[in-house]
Every structure is written in C-alpha cells, then in structure tokens.
C-alpha cells in the first residue's frame, strides 16, 4: 500500500480531496500505479495519461519505469502556478 499526495486542482477530483492510498504489486512501477489510478479515478487518470499531471517519487519527478517501494513519498503534481507545458517537456517524461 502506498500513499499518494494530491495538490491543487487534483484535490477537487477525488472524494473529500484527501490523499490516495493504492495497492501496488511488489516491484511495481509508476506505470502500474498510473494504471490503478486510471481505474479508480478516471478524471485524474486522464490527466496523467495526457502528461498534464506528473508523478514525483521522493520529491523528484519520476518516469513511468521508476520502481516504487512502500516507503516512497509519492505525489501527483498538476502544472505549477507559474509553469507551462514546457516544464513537463523539459523533464522528459
């Protein structure tokens, strides 16, 4: 079970606006987590799929093949207040 922090507009897309808890398989990657989120929270999942929302692991932008562990600090990051899609392109994800 991993906990996922939500920020900004994402808080309006899940019931109660609270952080998520999701099961991930042993050795699971960010792409597995994204797949689970797409199943339970399609609105959030669509933003992840379009790369409008990034995943961070331990406070660094993660890639889809980043391997997750239960102790990891995971967050979903919508576009920053001052940023643009260029930020996302720059991260190469």
């Amino acid at each position: 079970m991993v906990k996922i922090k939500l920020f900004g507009v994402l808080k309006t897309m899940v019931p109660g606006g609270k952080d998520l808890e999701m099961e991930i398989p042993a050795g699971g990657q960010v792409r597995d987590l994204v797949h689970s989120i797409q199943g339970e929270y399609p609105q959030v999942g669509e933003l992840l799929d379009k790369k409008k929302v990034l995943v961070s692991v331990n406070q660094e932008i993660a890639h889809w093949d980043t391997v997750l562990e239960e102790a990891d600090e995971i967050a979903l990051l919508p576009p920053f207040a001052g940023g643009s899609c260029a930020t996302w392109a720059r991260e190469g994800v």
Partner: protein, 147 residues
C-alpha cells in the same frame, strides 16, 4: 551553525508576509563586495485572464518546494557572477496587493545581478511545486499556467 541558520533564511517558503527592507538588508550584509542589488517582487493582482480576482491562495508541496528553491539559489550562485541570492515564496491565503514572491540578488556589478535575478524568477516559476487558486466571479479557479 550560525552560517547554516543564515543560509536557511535565504531560502524560505512561509505563510506570513515579509519585510522587503529586512530581506534586502539580509542580502546586503552578506558581503561588503556587493555593489549592485537587483530585486523582483511578485504581488497579488486583482485580475487574471480578463476576470476579476478578489482573493487568492497558494498550495505548496512542503519539503519539495523548499528543496527546489534551494536548488535555484545554489545554481544561481554557481552559474552567475554574483555574491548572494535570496529566494522566498509565500503560501496560504494572500490578499490583493500583498507580497507573494521575492528574489534579491547581490553582485559586484548590476549586469550580473539583473541577469541572475531574472533567471531565478523564471526558473522558480518552472520548477517549484506551488499552485495558485484565484477567487473570481465564476468561483474558485486553480491557475494552470502563467507566462
């Protein structure tokens, strides 16, 4: 210890407002070699994308936001010919007209101070996990991007 404490004051994410004079003095007092100081102050405006804005609030990722501001200061000190840089951002509810973000850069000469100050605020807006919600006549809106 005193040096670490002073450096932590040069990169802050905080809810409360700040005194520009105090922050300016913090940078100025770091070195007597400083001959030019450039500053950027971001303030809360009352309109956005053609809509009136009556209030705003900033959400931030505690820990990561501080980490990114620290990286910005350290890279500015490495990449520009400057002596000191201060990077400060507020979070929580902010009234129209209030301070939001402050960059102060001290250098021997103005050209380096101006260049580094612009780079710092541009970089901050690109990589710092801070989100703005504006209160408009249509309701509360999360702002996605600003040039």
């Amino acid at each position: 210890m005193a040096v670490e404490l002073e450096e932590s004051m040069l990169v802050r994410v905080q809810q409360e407002n700040f005194s520009i004079d105090e922050e300016l003095e913090r940078v100025r007092s770091r070195s007597r070699r400083i001959g030019g100081i450039a500053m950027f102050l971001g303030t809360a405006r009352d309109h956005s994308k053609g809509r009136e804005v009556s209030a705003m609030s900033f959400d931030h990722y505690e820990g990561m936001a501080q980490k990114k501001l620290k990286e910005i200061r350290e890279q500015a000190l490495r990449d520009f010919d400057i002596i000191e840089a201060l990077v400060l951002h507020r979070y929580g509810p902010i009234e129209i007209g209030e301070n939001i973000v402050l960059i102060i850069v001290g250098a021997e000469h103005r050209a380096d101070a101006f260049k580094a100050c612009k780079w710092c605020i541009d970089e901050l807006k690109q990589i710092t996990p801070i989100w703005k919600m504006e209160t408009t006549p249509d309701g509360e809106v999360w702002v996605e991007e600003h040039p």
